[in-house]
Amino acid sequence: MKILLTGTWEFPSASEMAPQMDALFMGLLVISSLVAFAVAGFIVVFGIRYRRGSTADRTPGHGSTMPIEIAWTAVPLAIFVALFVWAAVLYFQMARPPANSVEVHVVAKQWMWKVQHPGGRREINELHVPLGRPVVLVMISQDVIHSFYVPAFRIKQDVLPGRYTRQWFIPNRIGRYHLFCAEYCGTDHSRMIGTVTVMQPPEYARWQETGDVGTSMAAVGRGLFMSRGCSGCHSVRSAISAPLLDGVYGKPVALSDGATVIADEGYIRDSILLPNKQIAAGYSPVMPTFQGQLGEEEVAQLIAYIRSLTAKPETSP
């Protein structure tokens, strides 16, 4: 689609996925155009040749129509299956982020995008990312459904309230690109837009140290862990029986109803906000809910802290 459109309109392609998407688009466009022009061509030719009063031969044919019916059922079917496989393989790749990604937290709310980088740097309606490194966005909404859409990267993912969704990309061109909210979210939906800036990695590293930096997400989370009283129970010195959180992240947790879940962001978020939804085996449901007391950004900071306990188990409080 780049070839067709860049000449006329500004249409950047800035992620490693984009050229593959554009190839798929061109494939679809070529096939569709062939079919559309063939149908239109036949209509025009028949329309002229067999117009009322023309002298064309109209002797009815005598063969069975079954072969042609089967042909124009089977041929599209084969083409469609091929297209399906092509698109599905790409979609599958888009759903699997690489392991060494930069993880950026995005909180959507009416009508802005709030971004938190792992180093602590925050921004609003802006997203800065380093060139050539995979970036995973972990996204959640504070109110209604939004959708994080960067046309230049050819990516889009709905951002839901109450549940984390993710998407990833590898930016491969320096520049500034549109960020749109693509799911209608109310009055200022069309103003819930921003800019994605792709920078050289050294520049990105420098950028992370300047401006609205603060401390790292995990460090802020550690502060919250203390000040909100989490550490009162979730610690070795506690009189109350609560699970220790060192090394929990990413590990399977046995639940009281016999099921097992992986302790990912979603599970930890639920455990903070809806503590009785899933109870770890062997513990009683005594934890109070933090629903309405912690914002989505604070929850994300707490999760970052709990994750950091897995990376460095010796830093338990």
Binding site: S256, D257, L274, P275, N276, K277, P285
Partner: protein, 215 residues
């Protein structure tokens, strides 16, 4: 069937066609009703899957005895209606009227028992959105259980009320008709509707009353 006296609407050619049209129409209508409840059953499946323990705990708060009595009440009423449908074709006016009115009476019993249950739930603070409180830390899942409980049994109760009204009208018409046999199609179609209402309850009863860990 003694049907030559059935009045034929102008669009029909013969009585059999008219009767088949009415029956087919009711079956299609019942298909739409199945899908109307179907959306709610889907919601039930999704939310029970998300909070199985809360659903089991909340189910313990329903009144099993009342639900069981209501199940029996509806099944018996369906038996009466099935007999009424058969006897209408034989023109047995009195028995049919008695059977239909008995079914209406049972429908009223069902609604009264349901009303007591609702009253009790509201007293207990189990009505969602109105000071809902549920012990044991399962309030969110339990509230969803009761949202579905009130919506689904409420919609069903509405159907019971409508069905009872239809049966009452049938009873009145049979009573006043010079030849009850000509009303066979009407009673038959109304009976289909009543059996449907009954069957929906047969599904609701286990989903709301029997899934708890009562022991």
């Amino acid at each position: 069937m003694s049907e030559p006296t059935v009045p034929l609407a102008h669009q029909f050619e013969e009585p059999a066609q008219q009767q088949e049209a009415a029956t087919l129409g009711m079956w299609i209508f019942l298909a739409t009703e199945v899908l109307l409840f179907g959306g709610l059953f889907l919601a039930y499946i999704v939310y029970r899957d998300q909070a199985p323990q809360a659903f089991a705990a909340a189910s313990g708060k329903t009144m099993l005895v009342a639900g069981t009595i209501n199940t029996a009440v509806l099944l018996v009423s369906s038996y009466f209606v099935a007999n009424a449908v058969h006897l209408t074709t034989l023109g047995r006016r009195k028995v049919v009227v008695v059977l239909l009115l008995a079914a209406v009476l049972l429908a009223a019993v069902f609604l009264v028992i349901k009303g007591f249950e609702y009253h009790h739930k509201i007293e207990e603070g189990l009505f969602p959105g109105m000071n809902f409180h549920f012990p044991g830390g399962q309030a969110r899942g339990a509230q969803m259980f009761f949202v579905l409980y009130f919506t689904m049994t409420g919609l069903h109760a509405l159907h019971v009320a409508v069905g009872a009204a239809i049966l009452a009208v049938c009873a009145g018409k049979v009573l006043l008709s010079p030849d009850p046999a000509r009303l066979a199609t009407m009673v038959d179609v109304s009976g289909l509707y009543w059996h449907f209402v009954d069957i929906v309850w047969v599904f609701l009863f286990p989903l709301f009353y029997l899934i708890s860990h009562r022991s």
